[in-house]
């Protein structure tokens, strides 16, 4: 088989922007986009609030520099400042490009792109399409990929990433509709497989498939992954399902209220109030609940997000999706009642270690979007910066790969790579196996929520690691009960669980090692940031035996020196 010039794994915003840019850079390239779901199903569709760009349409005095500073401060100074600079500098360009290509951004009265305030930003900077920004961006990118004739391999599942130690060779995938395992040789591979926050399962706002498959494949292929302990908890998940009520709701003026009827954020962020950064607001809710100021229910303790004072008109016009979510999943109409919320695992800052072109240590292998750690979000991502991240670095990686690919000559993928996958998959349906998928998955989610959640301690994290190792052991005995080759969802669930377990171990081990509190990572036993010891990235490798090893890497600094982070 002739190798592809570029295989992109993932058809979310990151993957499709990369595909579009690669074809524009060189229309002759043979490119395919592999995705385990049809492109518009990708999790980018769930983004509600918007994408940041200092267009200065709303606040004329907004600048790219302010955006850079907000990003770095928001990251608790763990972002690499060169990467954050590229992110913010390119922001107006990518947002306008998307607009030029048909994205239906909401408008201001003068006809320019509308912008709203978002957590952790000094200015109104977040560009939006009502409260379905991700959906419209993803749809626009899909339309543009169709226009350019991008070749999609939809419902193909990534099994492994292949390289020869220096250069990319391609990927091994399974055609989900037929069960056939195929090697797809490629000069370069761009991983854009999204995040891993679904490992918290019931306590997560993520899609069922945000299971970190690409990161786990990279880890197994010997690549470095970075800063895995940083998982962002969004303050306003719905009480029962963990589904997200966007920051847009607070951006438009929603109140967070405890059982005493108080806007409790005045204690924690007197200036920014509800619009403090996510990590801070999530922690504040936890404290309120722990101190007995939460509301009680079968589904656990919760807080109120009150939108009623905004009025029906504003809610209907700017927050229609959010209103439907509250009605469909909580039976609450925000026009009439406050929405019951609690923090939910939402975004994974960690990911595959990649440079400012999205390139990894292996020539021809790239990582972009939520599966990468470039690192622009450091210890805490600002709302509206991750759609931006997927666009900017999707574009840069697409361009870089398109320029480089023709000069690369990949060696063939070994037949043993395919055989290995085949053997593993056949093994799962062996009748001696007794462990149930659903049980392991639920236990993993629970121990992560309890021991590697918002507040962490040495004791909890040790328990977390222990639980995860036990689950990892039991997984060796997990059974796939469905033996069919056709669309075997039971098999894919098990493969995803394998990935979540592998990454959960990095999250818990990273969190245990990092004896400080920074951004989303709060250690009760080490409540302050320790720049002397921990102003550095965590790096994880998997050795041949499958054990995780930890090391560190310095943070790239720039204009902005370390400062205390207060809001």
């Amino acid at each position: 088989m002739q190798p592809y010039d570029i295989i992109i794994v993932g058809a979310g915003g990151g993957g499709m922007y990369a595909a579009m840019e690669a074809l524009q850079t060189n229309p002759k390239l043979k490119i395919a986009v592999v995705s385990k779901v049809y492109p518009t199903r990708s999790h980018t569709s769930a983004a509600q609030g918007g994408v940041n760009a200092a267009l200065a349409n709303r606040h004329k005095d907004d600048t790219i520099d302010l955006h850079i500073f907000d990003t770095i401060k928001g990251s608790d100074y763990l972002a690499d400042q060169d990467a954050a600079t590229i992110l913010c500098e390119m922001a107006p360009y990518v947002v306008r490009e998307l607009e030029n290509l048909g994205a239906p951004f909401s408008r201001l009265e003068d006809g320019t792109i509308a912008q709203r305030p978002f957590g952790g930003a000094q200015k109104y900077r977040c560009c939006y399409c009502a409260d379905r920004t991700g959906h419209t961006i993803l749809t626009t990118l899909f339309e543009q990929c169709l226009r350019q004739g991008v070749h999609f391999l939809s419902e193909y599942y990534l099994l492994s990433l292949e390289h020869d130690g220096q250069k990319a060779q391609g990927v091994v995938v399974m055609n989900m509709q037929t069960g056939k395992i195929e090697a797809l040789p490629a000069r370069s591979v761009i991983l854009a497989t999204g995040g891993y926050a679904k490992m918290y399962w019931q306590k997560s706002s993520n899609a069922a498939g945000s299971t970190g498959d690409g990161i786990a494949a990279a880890l197994r292929a010997g690549l470095a992954v970075e800063d895995m302990e940083f998982v962002q908890f969004h303050p306003t998940g719905l009480r029962k399902s963990g589904l997200l009520i966007s920051e847009g709701a607070r951006g438009e003026g929603g109140y967070l209220v405890n059982n005493k009827g108080e806007r409790f954020m005045k204690t924690y962020a007197p200036e920014k109030m509800e619009l403090g950064p996510r990590d801070l607001v999530s922690r504040s809710i936890e404290i309120e609940i722990n101190e007995g100021r939460g509301f009680d229910s079968d589904a656990g303790q919760y807080m109120h997000l009150d939108l009623r004072h905004l009025g029906a008109d504003l809610i209907l016009e700017r927050l229609p999706q959010i209103r439907m979510l509250a009605i469909d999943f909580e039976g609450v109409d925000p026009i009439k009642e406050p929405i019951p919320i609690r923090p939910t695992a939402h975004y994974s800052m960690g990911g595959i270690d990649a440079n400012n072109d999205g390139a990894t240590a292996i020539q021809g292998i790239y990582a972009v979007g939520e599966c990468s750690c470039i690192s622009v979000h450091g210890a805490n991502r600002l709302g509206g910066n991750s759609l931006l991240d997927i666009l900017v670095f999707g574009k840069l990686a697409g361009r870089h790969a398109a320029q480089l690919a023709p000069s690369l000559n990949p060696g063939a993928i070994s037949t043993s790579a395919v055989e290995k996958s085949l053997k593993e998959i056949e093994g799962y349906s062996h009748h001696d196996r007794t462990e149930r998928y659903g049980e392991l998955r639920d236990e993993l989610g629970k121990t992560l929520g309890a021991n590697a959640g918002i507040y962490r301690t040495k004791k909890k994290l040790e328990k977390g690691v222990e639980d995860i190792m036990a689950i990892k052991e039991r997984f060796k005995n997990v059974r796939v009960n469905d033996s069919s080759a056709v669309f075997n969802t039971n098999l894919f669930q098990v493969l995803e669980l394998k990935n979540m377990i592998a990454l959960a171990e990095t999250v818990a081990r990273g969190a245990l090692a990092r004896e400080e509190s920074r951004g989303s990572h709060s250690r009760e036993d080490f409540p302050v940031r320790d720049d002397e010891k921990w102003h550095k990235h965590s790096i994880f490798h998997m050795n041949e035996k499958g054990d995780i090893t930890l090391s560190t890497k310095p943070v790239t600094m720039g204009k902005y020196p370390l400062q205390a982070r207060t809001y």
């Binding site: 779901v37 518009t40 048909g102 006809g111 659903g438 080759a485 075997n488």
Partner: protein, 321 residues
């Protein structure tokens, strides 16, 4: 506060082409709390009773469009449909039927072959082809008035879930038909001032299986999971054709004849519509088709009865006008 609970029977369509010669139904009884969605209920069945049950889902939040299936006969999203809300729609008390969408090939259980939808998006040029040259992209934004934006805003809500496609009566007669979601997308693009390919798009829309084939049954509008006024879009592209004077097509004449028929008797005179839209030669060329229909007993009746409430129809018509 404990929630209400109830035993619910799920009667679920099963078909695995590897092993089954014919589709069949499986019954599952589970105890369900109030507030649980159809998706959570079938996930429970998959996790605890039968892990071979096959369906798609992803976001679980009504935004990705993966989980569309027929619940008690009607296509909807499993993840936003409450079990409790379906109980009044059950034919047998507390028995909820789950089936794959219509008008698609079945891959397995509720999973259907979705590529025809994408082929249609391609056929009808469902994207913006920008005025701005490639090298100038990203430099500045278009100025777009709130008024223009409002015209296609609702159409951009579409999540390609396929519920309308599954319910469309015209799709059932011909899988070649553009489909309601195709018409909706076409409308969204035609009305976008940033796009430059409206002429080409209108041309394809004007061909067979395009914008004129819709029978106005409104089932798509009823089914749309995002409550998008699809019929406005269908009327919108047709009006565009009228405005552009695209009279030289079968479809235009058909639509014209159609509106005349509705005005006069409130129901289609299908047997004469062929004469009026194809012209007499065209109608003769359709004879073999008519003979086939006669053979299958599906020949439209030659005598048309005026339907009761014709005044009402006339009134509706005037409103639309």
């Amino acid at each position: 506060m404990t929630e209400e609970k109830k035993d619910i029977y799920f009667k679920i369509f099963r078909f695995n082409p590897e092993v089954d010669q014919h589709p069949f139904y499986d019954d599952f009884k589970i105890s369900v709390e109030k507030g649980v969605t159809i998706l959570r209920a079938i996930n429970y069945i998959k996790d605890h009773v039968d892990s071979t049950l096959t369906y798609r889902f992803y976001c679980q939040a009504g935004i990705c469009g993966s989980c569309s299936m027929r619940v008690n006969g009607v296509s909807k999203l499993a993840c936003t449909t409450q079990v409790w809300d379906e109980l009044p729609n059950c034919k047998e008390t507390d028995v909820i039927t789950i089936e794959p969408m219509n008008n698609f090939e079945i891959i397995r259980d509720m999973v259907v072959e979705y590529t025809p939808v994408i082929s249609k998006l391609e056929k009808y040029i469902s994207w913006v082809t920008p005025k701005i040259k490639q090298q100038d992209l990203g430099k500045k934004e278009h100025i777009i008035s709130e008024a223009e934006f409002k015209v296609y805003d609702a159409a951009t809500d579409c999540i390609l879930c396929g519920a309308c496609y599954s319910e469309c009566s015209m799709m059932t007669s011909s899988r070649e038909y553009i489909s309601p979601l195709g018409l909706l997308k076409a409308y969204r693009m035609v009305k976008d001032s940033r796009d430059t390919r409206s002429n080409d798009r209108m041309k394809v829309l004007n061909e067979d299986h395009g914008m004129w084939d819709c029978t106005h049954c409104y089932r798509c509008v009823e089914a749309c999971v995002k409550k998008i006024p699809i019929m406005d879009a269908i009327q919108g592209v047709r009006n565009e054709a009228f405005l552009r004077g695209m009279k030289n097509s079968e479809g235009y004449r058909h639509a014209y004849a159609f509106t005349q028929d509705i005005k006069s008797v409130g129901r289609l005179k299908e047997s004469t519509i062929a004469v009026r839209t194809k012209g007499i030669f065209g109608a003769i060329s359709m004879l073999p088709f008519a003979l086939k229909m006669l053979g299958r007993n599906r020949m439209p009746k030659v005598f048309v009865h005026t339907i009761p409430g014709i005044k009402h129809v006339k009134r509706i018509f005037q409103k639309i006008k």
